[in-house]
Symmetry: C2
Subunit: 541 residues, 2 copies
């Protein structure tokens, strides 16, 4: 028997229209070179309508992909809302990918237009000769069009000025594509994920839950996560859904810029990768900022060390670890202590908060062994993490590699993890970075987090290298803080009461820097290559 309820689609269009109806006077602010740009949701709505009409005038069809190559600004928010709401697909181009990767993804997605920040025109110009389907470039900025070889070239503000404000939002199918992002794998070409309206909308509604970010109308939300990475974790959509005040940090914000924006605008929610939060701590060492308005700071993208949580706790700021991937829209888990833990000490609670946490509503997780069988959720059994749910990828866009990425309707994340009896996920490694010593797993991620807790350490990476007796043993590569000294023995002593004895790195080497991927993750493959001729001290002896 069918239910007899309205077939009302879950779409970005609804989010936009709701903002028009309820929040027209709420502000959206953007940091620009000439000060803060300020307008309202009402202004935003009218410009989005003009954008939709401009896209039609430029001949962009329903379902066609439109690229963005831009920082976090109100104009990028207009693209986030206007492109999907008018039935097109927003393809956010990660400006930090290698040029040949950007060329690949633009061609693979067949982007019809690319909207580009004026400051990024030179970077795009260098790629343009590779791009096969792009029919035009739209430059976003306040000044005149820059001198460039990009052609045909349009000025965003001119297109909007020429377009009508009258636009009837279409009724879209919630399963239509709203956005696309490509993964930034370290091997092979990037893989495309096509987000449906339903996926993004449901993720945003779930983010409003009190047990998630609890985003609400009275919040002041700053999207620091780049809008060219995994939908900026959905924050622009969620903030618009609830009518929060929105702050965009503009091009290349420094940690000082971020702290100043928080202080000046009494920002209550901002999200970022650990590097950004570490940067904020660094800025605080130089100068005092009042960050007391922050009530929730989601952090993810790579593991959040307990020491980072502790340092923010000292400031009275609650950092909440969240986990996800481009393939999971991205928010899949977040880690808050549950009610049974409220009587625990702050240290005990931080151990829980340093895990990746419980799955969001409607997201399911399981751990699967090498034999493809599900493992118990006992906090000990280690296997590959698999997820499913309404905002998890079902297949990669036009990519034969999809076949290998799924098992019985579950997405194989490539992360190695445990799930404890309370349902808290802990990721121990990327599958390809796993260290297996004497038949047992060693988590390079946990070792790295422990080493970073040492006060003289700036960065650390742990890789597994072949070992005659134990098959593999961990090597710690450590970057000391500028002007500081630390020894191998000190690191090992520091770790002694933090990890199992057999987890202790077989050796510690000091390096000037850790190689990174295009999106700032540790490039372990490069590191293993760098140390391929390394010999253990015991072997040298």
């Amino acid at each position: 028997m069918r239910g007899l309820m309205m077939d009302y689609p879950l779409t970005i269009t609804h989010i936009l229209d709701r903002a028009r109806r309820l929040f027209r006077d709420k502000p959206v602010l953007t940091r620009t070179a000439s000060g803060m740009h300020r307008y309202t949701y009402g202004d935003l709505y009218r410009r989005v309508c003009r954008l939709a009409n401009a896209l039609t005038a430029l001949g962009v069809c329903d379902g066609e992909r439109v690229g963005s190559f831009a920082w976090n600004t109100y104009r990028h928010l207009e693209l986030y809302l206007g492109i999907p709401s008018s039935g097109r697909v927003l393809h956010t181009l990660n400006i930090r990918l290698f040029p040949e990767q950007i060329g690949f993804i633009v061609n693979h997605a067949e982007d019809a237009l690319i909207f580009v920040d004026d400051s990024l025109v030179p970077a795009l110009e260098a790629l343009a000769p590779q791009l096969k389907c792009v029919r035009g470039y739209v430059v976003m900025g306040d000044g005149p069009l820059p001198k460039t070889s990009l052609a045909p070239l349009y000025r965003y503000e001119d297109l909007l000025a020429a377009a009508s404000e009258d636009y009837d939002l279409p009724r879209l199918d919630e399963n239509n594509a709203a956005g696309m992002c490509y993964t930034s794998g370290t091997t092979g070409n990037p893989k495309g994920v096509a987000y449906s309206h339903r996926a993004l909308t449901l993720q945003s509604l779930a983010q409003c839950s009190a047990d998630a970010f609890g985003l609400c109308e009275s919040d002041v939300v700053m999207s620091v996560v780049p809008m060219f990475q995994a939908n900026a974790w959905g924050l622009p959509y969620t903030a618009t859904l609830v009518g929060a005040t929105q702050i965009y940090p503009g091009a290349q914000p420094t940690p000082q810029d971020i702290c100043e924006l928080v202080q000046e605008h009494k920002i209550s929610v901002t999200a970022g990768v650990p590097t950004v939060l570490l940067g904020m701590l660094g800025a605080l060492e130089q100068k005092s900022y009042d960050l007391s308005s922050l009530r929730c700071v989601p952090c993810g993208g790579s593991a959040v060390p307990e020491s980072l949580l502790a340092r923010f706790d000292q400031l009275g700021i609650r950092v909440v670890q969240a986990w996800g991937m481009t393939e999971t829209s991205p928010l899949a888990t977040l880690s808050k202590p549950r009610s049974s833990m409220v009587s625990w000490s702050a240290e005990q609670q931080r151990l829980v908060r340093a895990k990746q946490g419980m799955s969001m509503p409607f997201v399911e997780m399981r751990i699967v062994g090498d034999d493809g069988k599900e493992l118990p959720q006992d906090g000990k059994s280690v296997g590959e993490l698999q997820v499913r749910g309404p905002w998890i990828v079902a297949e990669y866009y036009n990519d034969p590699r999809s076949a290998a990425a799924f098992q019985d309707g579950w997405f194989k994340t490539g992360d190695i993890a445990t799930i404890d009896p309370d349902g808290y996920l802990q990721i121990t490694d990327r599958a390809k970075d796993v260290i297996k010593s004497g038949g047992e797993w060693i988590s390079s991620v946990e070792l790295e987090n422990a080493i970073i807790g040492h006060p003289q350490v700036l960065e650390a990476a742990v890789i597994g290298l072949p070992h005659e007796r134990w098959q593999e043993r961990p090597l710690a590569c450590v970057v000391p803080r500028p002007g500081q000294q630390v020894s191998r023995a000190e690191i090992l002593k520091f770790l002694a009461d933090k990890v199992a004895k057999w987890w202790l790195p077989e050796d510690v080497v000091f390096v000037e820097s850790i190689p990174k991927t295009s999106v700032g993750k540790i490039a372990k493959r490069d590191l293993r290559e760098q140390f391929k001729d390394y010999h253990w001290p015991s072997e040298k002896a």
Copy 2:
């Protein structure tokens, strides 16, 4: 272009399975004649599996309706979860309907079985001869089967004991029916609403939003709203989704019982109609209870007088007005002051909180005039409220009256209302109760709320009666508090600075009681009938 995300259905089944995975040790408590019954979500899950197998053993097919005739207990929660999760449809029978109405709805829905509380067996027995499709009755209680003419008869606990605990949750279509409720209209037969899994699940997720109830894992939630009325406002599903501690008040809780449960179990969220909250205030006048654990008390079902909000404010308890109907699952709006109002006085904020509030995410509202055209949302234009959204009814079950209930895909609520520029709904009347004086609307609901604010008034109802000069004028029917006296002149003086002069009742009459419908709403039709030969003082003169 289609999105490429998983086709993962939004179902009650997921809510149940999530509770099993994450919250197995959280408690569910029920007040019974012999003290508190206490078990865990883990126990609940195992019994739900047994129930699903028992339904199969009794030959209940996919999609068949199963009735419940029961109070708010853990067993009713098992029906709430087990019947929809196994693919059947839970039809909650409102025990307070008139017997012939209950007979009608059981036959109309073709209920295959009825699950009945042992204390309600006599009430059901009287109806049974009318029931045409019911193949059996399942008695829920701790004792042996009562002596009854109901047949065939099963004992709930025996069925569960005989059934296996092994049950694989099916993968259901989210658009399948999960539950049914019938409206309790004052005219004609009740109309059936068939809720889909999607509708109930989305409503629950939306209730978790910080701007809605913000329900979370650390909450202690008591469903006081009867589980036989509009899905108990969705609270049993929402509480299970987030893993909150749940308290069920059992059969016929008194206001004292409710206050004791709140105090004893530190309940943080409970919801009820204004009558229940007024009862709690009455209980507090007799005895002191510590109700400070309450953080959010949704109130709805009929208009919430500002005086009720004020009295709870004095206790430090936040009552939040919510509005909805059987046809809207039911939660459609709720009224919280927005961030621009935080600097307002408590009185000013209460004026906002006394409105029905802003629409939930994904619910749209509009006001339509007699000519079927949309009216401006200016807080002044009065017309019929129409709503649409994913948890709004699309048609009544097997009912030709559906045709008249919709306009262009919007549900016509039959409520007369305004919407202000901030998007706050204010319901002024049921369409059929509207008073039109000299071509202008007068809100009987607002007048009633104002009169109830008088300290000597227990109840009040306002109806429109024909008037020679003004077409209609309001007559106030007032029930004084027991042992108290109040005059017509005192009432009119009390209202003088609260309503427009031309709104003042043309006359005030004192009555012993106000006639009510089967669900406790004012029976205005009966009242108008009662006063059909009434003459205005001016006409008598």
